[in-house]
């Protein structure tokens, strides 16, 4: 496992020499978003259909702060974005955490639609046009993020931090309880665990991470738009996670990488017109044949091989 | 699994030579990963009433479900009226004239009593008419418009039984039909079963209530851990008493 991590880290450090860094940053942002989402779906067992609200809230907060207050350094704006998204996550969580299954999905969707409406109407988002020309600024007032390489390593660092947090969380005493809750909620209650609080914590942390992903993404593209808040964004992150493998640590990363690259390739290639058909086809095939997702199926296969 | 030899000694030659209604050999059944039946062998002649006895969890209900192909997976051989049905879906099996009355009664909450009664399609000619059924279970007639699950437990049990009598099934699989019934109804049910037997129906009865089953049955199969461990003819009950006690007692 350690070797795997080392190899991946080295690959990530050298990747921008081969691949266009902004594209890599996009992958990292979506990966973080998917990792956050997976914390709730994969480790608590709740399907949230409102993740876009957090992504967008983080993004708009950061974007708004940076465009309005030119003295602000990016890290402060990012922290602010993350915190606001976290707070929103708390509100969502308090309202929704008691619901289960499809009702949880639907109430989060509905709440996210209300947030979407807010962003459409609020003047500071500039509606459809979006917030443009957000300055990347200088990290801590020192490192110029306008440089793509600098920006890349910053995003990579943020991603690793977020990923590490999730990885730590699920391998922590808290993670143990979370796992127990997911496996058998009634039993966890009867052992004296207030399960709603544990679920809520995971949901709030995931919201914060989604907000972080949104904040960083806005910085990368220097643009905050309504797309981030649209329900299709919530759908997209579900697809990424399922494609990669729910409840696996790397699944969401692989899924995000796959979907982002695929969309990129398709939108530029000769098959451009068929992008939706191809994406749809992939989902169908996945559901029919690789339900555990890419990483999930890989793990299964490895396990089988070992036996 | 010494059953085949025992069959040979069966005193009622008429029954032994009657055509075989059901023949099961080496039946294994699984729920997901768990292996519940481990090679069940049994056979039932036409017109016979046979019971499956055993402790809780011995696999009696599972045997009935396996016959109906309602378990996760099953292997082995099941022949109904000589026809191999191990690969048939449940509805094909029912259409061969099999009526199944589940342990948990399976009354549909969304249906009225009358709808519940009329639900199973007629699979063979010669089933009881609605009038006969209401005659036999007047309670059901009175409450025919109320929701199926609003009936008392006993009434639900009657309903579960009644609805397969309507279908004209020739082979009945009955799982704990006396459970929760008042003694008088149980008595009535015993009469019904005798009547059905007279009409030539074949019945497999899973029972806890041994005193109910004993006088009705021609033979008993004793189950343990998903296998038939003993076959007892009704005439041998006294002789095998000790065995019964150890197997059914705790």
């Amino acid at each position: 496992m350690l070797i795997l991590y080392a190899v991946l880290l080295v690959a990530a450090l050298f990747a921008p020499l081969l691949v266009y860094p902004v594209f890599l940053m996009k992958i990292l942002c979506f990966s973080l978003f998917a990792v956050a989402f997976n914390l709730v779906l994969g480790y608590v067992g709740l399907l949230s259909f409102g993740s876009a609200a957090f992504l967008a809230t983080g993004g708009y907060t950061t974007g708004y702060l940076l465009t309005s207050y030119s003295t602000l350094t990016p890290e402060i704006a990012i922290v602010a974005g993350t915190l606001v998204a976290t707070a929103l996550g708390l509100v969502f969580g308090l309202l929704a955490i008691r619901r289960q299954g499809i009702y949880f999905a639907m109430i989060t969707l509905a709440l996210a639609q209300l947030v979407f409406f807010f962003f459409v109407q609020a003047p500071f988002t500039h509606g459809e046009n979006g917030l443009h020309g957000i300055p990347r600024g200088e990290l801590l007032g020192l490192i110029d993020l306008q440089d793509n390489m600098n920006m890349y390593y910053f995003v990579l660092a943020v991603f690793i931090a977020g990923f590490a947090l999730v990885q730590r969380m699920i391998h922590s005493p808290y993670g143990q309880v979370l796992k127990a809750i997911k496996e058998n909620e009634a039993r966890a209650i009867s052992l004296g665990y207030h399960v709603d609080r544990y679920k809520l914590l995971a949901f709030v942390v995931a919201s914060g991470l989604a907000g972080l992903a949104g904040s960083v993404k806005v910085l990368v593209f220097q643009l905050a738009s309504l797309n981030d808040a649209h329900w299709q964004m919530s759908g997209e992150v579900i697809l990424m996670t399922l494609l990669g493998g729910v409840g696996t640590l790397f699944g969401p990363v692989v899924g995000a990488t796959f979907v982002v690259s695929l969309e990129h390739e398709l939108s530029q290639g000769a098959l451009g017109d068929w992008i939706n058909v191809i994406l749809g086809g992939i989902f169908i095939v996945c559901v029919l044949a690789f339900r555990a997702g890419i990483v999930g199926e890989l793990q299964k296969w490895l396990k089988k091989k070992r036996q | 699994m010494q059953n085949s030899t025992i069959v040979a000694q069966a005193p009622d030659l008429h029954k032994a030579s009657a055509p075989t209604s059901l023949e099961i050999s080496d039946l294994h059944a699984f729920y997901g990963e768990s292996h519940i039946l481990h090679g069940v062998n049994l056979h039932v002649q036409e017109g016979e009433l046979v019971t499956l006895l055993g402790r809780n969890g011995a696999g009696r209900s599972t045997t009935l479900k396996a016959i109906m192909n309602m378990v996760g997976r099953r292997t082995g051989s099941i022949k109904i009226h000589g026809k191999q049905v191990i690969t048939s879906p449940a509805h094909h099996i029912a259409r061969l004239g099999v009526g199944y009355c589940p342990e948990e009664r399976g009354i549909f909450a969304a249906l009225s009593v009358a709808e519940n009664l009329m639900l199973p399609p007629v699979v063979c000619a010669g089933g009881m008419s609605l009038d006969d059924i209401y005659g036999m279970f007047p309670n059901l007639y009175e409450r025919r418009f109320s929701q199926g699950t609003r009936l008392s437990g006993g009434e639900q049990q009657m309903l579960a039984m009644a609805r397969i009598l309507r279908t004209g099934a020739k082979l009945l699989l009955l799982d704990e039909i006396t459970e929760g019934l008042a003694p008088v109804i149980v008595q009535q049910l015993a009469q019904v079963l005798l009547q059905l037997k007279e009409q030539g129906l074949t019945i497999i009865l899973v029972e806890q209530n041994f005193r109910f089953a004993a006088p009705l049955a021609d033979r008993h199969y004793l189950m343990e851990h998903g296998q038939i461990i003993e076959e007892i003819h009704s005439s041998e009950l006294t002789a095998k008493q000790a065995l019964l006690n150890t197997c059914l007692g705790v």
Partner: protein
Amino acid sequence: AISDNEVRIGYLADMSGTYRDLAGPNGLTALNMAVEDFGGKVNGAAITVVSADDRNSPDVASSTVRQWVESDGVDMVAGMVASSVTIATTKILEQSNKLGIVSGSAASSITDQYCTANHIHYVYDTYPLAHGTAQAVVKEGGDSWFILTADYAFGHSLEKDVEKVVRENGGTVMQKVRHPFPTSDFSSFILQAQGSGASVVALANAGSDTINAINTAGEFGVTQSGQSLAALLLFLTDVHALGVDVAQGIQLTTGWYWNKDAEARAWSDRFMERTGVRPTMVHAGIYSSTLHYLNAIKAAESDDTQKVRQKMIATPINDMFAKGGEIREDGRMVHDMYLAKVKTPAQSKGEWDLYDIIRTIPAKDAYRPLADSQCKLIKGTVAVK
């Protein structure tokens, strides 16, 4: 000199979503026609075209365009429909000093508060749409207005422009209603329009919203009851979708019409041969602007963005698209616009025979005067004035 001896054009448009028919894959055909007509080479350097689907998402657009200009050596980006996409794209072009020629977008803000020295807005914008149509309608006596606006930036700016024109010409705006974008059922809004007592029902929206609104207006007998309908942005494809029996009589402003003259018709025939449909003004604009761009490179003997842009500004445009068209300092290409009226079924002689051009709006009157501009590029000039 031409950088890395190749001129690369990136075509960015919605290829699969709501605006597909407006520019979309056929816009790429128009662009390719221009490159072919130019000879495939400029000053010996090859011309290559790449294209991408922006999926109507500024995100996708900005990541695509960044990669194009920062790592793929694209010199010019063409197409661009959704205004959010255009604004996002032009910001990037400004940062990396590459050129954009916007043909699909409507928002006049693109050469106003969002203007850059790196793009040109070529075909039309909301200003002439509002002015051309509104002025004509008010002059014909439609002096009380009900405005139904799509609730997003484009709709708002159109609404603002129309309101101003109506007032300036002595009309009144009785009621304004903003509908969510997109909306499929307009019956409630049409009913409100009917109840408002206004003589003109103006639609400040676009695409399927406009089509649905017009359809519903027809169904509820808006015109029969004496109100007239003004669609502020209506493309040829929209009218085609509506059909002349529903759309007949609607006045609209367009930057170009395939049958406006022989030259346009000839080009349209070539276009139709390749695509099976008649070109919209956007298609024609893409063709024209690409040729203009290539000619400028040829003349400037360089593909340096600012040199080319200056050359494009210095050279008037005279082709199948525009006569005497001029690109202003703020990047606005000003040219004659046309007030058209949708033909009646009796007048229409074919599937695509849809408009009667009833008036030409001269270039000088059509677009927002520089004097009113907030564009950072020309504030200096204004101050001097």
